[in-house]
């Protein structure tokens, strides 16, 4: 029998390339991506998609949804972000959703999502929500709630309905107080309260079993830290503290503690033995206590931009410390000796500023050929031969479809990378072959290699290459790790050479 409604809907969906030719009935459609199609409305016939589970209509110009959507009984994931909704369509409140993303609209308030007992993920970020009445049923299974970048001032009323929420983002609002009702966050693991106007925190907050808290960029003047027994990460950056203190029984498993730009004069020591990252950057601290040496698991210490002259000898005991930022302090000779003994992998005092990344010029080619010797000394397949290297680099420089970048310090080449255009029959288009990424030993651990690779990736993007690829010596573990960390995937292919 001819199905007029399906025929009309299919024509509409075809128009936006939302379904392929294999779809012959409404029942076959379980997912629809109609994002970024400049849609101003959705046809009422969408209600016939009885098996639709996922609907993405984000990045359109919608301000309403058809009432017929209440027939979408299988719909679980609805994405309406970045549209023109000024209020949440009534039909949304009647759906049994698992996730709803309504960020980037102009919602001013929220109505009760009465059928949302199974809702797990809810995103109302970047709207204009001021008031939060009870928008969730008392019994719900919400796990993730994002209300960031709204105009919320008072959170007292809605907290009692968030007993199951594990991740709550309230950053970028105008919250002034953390009320006693915060105690209702019984399942909370991550709590982002950054960029608000918080002045007061109720004691109930310190009894939460939260693991990650961000309170940065608020108006906290006085804070006494205690309990928070499950806390692993605390960020307090950009609060103009007059009084910050830490109790002995505060956060025994704390791993990361950051107080960047907090007007602190004292270096406070959290009691946790598990601390891995400690940041007191941009304060007015004059001394680091000897007890810093007790943090045997510390891997990163940031004390830059303070008033520190000397460093305690105990700092040199921190054998796992890999990253140490200490620039902008009037460090004396003893302090510099301590850093020498400590010898961290990354230290901003050792970093040279003024290293530039630029396209290679004709004058750079001889230096690049010389630099290649450093690479070929590592790679067993190649022998060092300056004349061949110089000739190769010169040919590459003249070759259309080749790109050569150099890292320069005081007009000398200290690092390089090249890329050649290839045609991939697998990709059906151009790809980039990366070669010759090398940095002089004394300029390593300063991010020069990353910058060279990042710049080359941007060039590849501009050429619209489908892929970039490279080969690395299997014994060069540093290089293999470097490429892995930057998102390169190892392939199953082996390289073979045949000398012609």
């Amino acid at each position: 029998m001819y199905d007029y409604e399906w025929d009309r809907l299919k024509t509409w969906l075809d128009q936006y390339g939302a379904i392929d030719e294999s779809i012959t009935s409404a029942e076959q459609i379980t997912r629809l991506d109609l994002s970024a199609k400049s849609l101003k409305d959705i046809p009422a016939s969408i209600g016939i998609l009885c098996n639709l589970i996922v609907l993405n209509v984000s990045n359109n110009k919608l301000s309403t949804l058809p009432d017929s959507m209440k027939e979408l009984s299988a719909l679980r994931n609805l994405d309406i972000r970045r549209n023109n909704f000024e209020e949440l369509p009534e039909v949304v409140t009647s759906l049994s959703l698992r996730s709803l993303n309504a960020s980037g609209n102009q919602l001013k308030s929220l109505c009760l999502l009465k059928n949302s007992k199974e809702l797990r993920v809810l995103d109302f970020s970047s709207n204009a929500i001021r008031n939060l009445e009870s928008f969730l049923p008392i019994k719900n299974e919400l796990r993730t709630l994002n209300l960031s970048s709204n105009l919320i001032k008072d959170i007292d009323m809605f907290l009692p309905n968030l007993a199951s929420v594990e991740r709550l983002n309230l950053s970028n609002n105008v919250i002034v107080n953390i009320p006693h009702s915060i105690e209702h966050l019984e399942s909370i693991e991550e709590l982002d309260l950054s960029s608000n106007q918080i002045e007061k925190i109720d004691d109930a907050f310190f009894n939460l079993e939260v693991e990650i808290v961000d309170l940065s960029a608020n108006n906290l003047k006085s804070l006494h830290l205690f309990s928070l027994e499950s806390l692993e990460e605390l960020t307090l950056d950009e609060n103009d503290f007059e009084d910050l203190s830490i109790e002995d029984y505060f956060a025994p498993y704390l791993k990361e503690f950051s107080c960047d730009s907090c007007s602190l004069e004292t270096f406070l020591l959290p009691p946790s033995e598990f601390l891995e990252m400690l940041c007191y950057s941009s304060n007015e601290i004059k001394a680091i206590p000897d007890e810093i040496g007790h943090y045997s698991k510390l891997t990163q210490l940031d004390i830059d931009e303070n008033l520190i002259e000397d460093l305690p000898d105990s700092l040199a005991n921190l054998v796992y410390l890999q990253t140490f930022y200490a620039k902008g302090n009037p460090l004396n000779e003893h302090a510099k000796k301590v850093i020498d003994v400590l010898s961290p992998n990354i230290c901003d005092l050792n970093m040279k500023s003024g290293i530039t990344i630029e396209r290679a010029g004709a004058d750079d080619l001889a230096q690049m050929a010389k630099l290649l010797s450093v690479l070929f000394a590592i790679e067993k397949d190649f022998e060092i031969d300056f004349d061949k290297q110089f000739s190769g680099i010169q040919s590459l420089y003249k070759c259309e479809g080749a790109d050569l970048l150099v890292a320069k310090y005081e007009n000398s080449v200290v690092g390089m990378i090249t890329m050649q255009r290839l045609i991939s029959s697998a990709e059906g288009d151009y790809i980039g072959q990366i070669e010759d990424l090398v940095v002089y030993e004394e300029y390593r651990k300063m991010g020069v290699g990353s910058r060279l690779l990042n710049k080359m990736r941007v060039i590849a993007q501009e050429y619209e290459y489908k892929r970039i690829q490279l080969a690395a010596d299997i014994d060069n573990s540093n290089a293999l790790e470097f490429y892995n960390r930057r998102g390169f995937n190892k392939t199953n292919l082996n390289l073979y050479h045949y000398t012609v």
């Binding site: 970045r82 980037g104 970047s126 204009a128 970048s149 105009l151 970028n172 105008v174 950054s194 960029s195 940065s216 960029a217 950056d237 950009e238 960047d260 730009s261 940041c279 950057s281 941009s282 830059d304 930022y325 901003d348 530039t356 990344i357 300063m446 991010g447 020069v448 990353s450 910058r451 990042n454 710049k455 990736r457 941007v458 590849a460 993007q461 998102g487």
Partner: protein
């Protein structure tokens, strides 16, 4: 929708008076972690433009810049500031 050149000329940080193009250049030329790279752009310890700068920082690491997304985030922030000032 703005084209790439228009987005590059948008002001991303009032404190440091930097455009998107300048912020991208600075982010590409440092290997410092985000918190420190941000200060190179803003030249201050504030976090007004943190969200947009973090997008650029992540895009730099990812190797692809989404200029529409950058413009959207900047405009969102300006819109929010306007709303807040109207309320005040």
């Amino acid at each position: 929708m703005k084209d790439k050149e228009e987005v590059l000329e948008m002001e991303i940080c009032e404190c440091g008076e930097k455009t998107v193009a300048q912020a991208i250049e600075i982010m590409q030329n440092t290997s410092l972690p985000f918190k420190k790279a941000k200060k190179l752009v803003t030249e201050c310890n504030k976090s007004c433009c943190r969200v947009a700068l973090m997008k650029i920082y992540d895009m730099k690491d990812f190797g692809r810049f989404d200029y529409d997304e950058i413009a959207y985030v900047i405009e969102q922030r300006l819109e929010r500031l306007k709303r807040l000032s109207e309320e005040a």
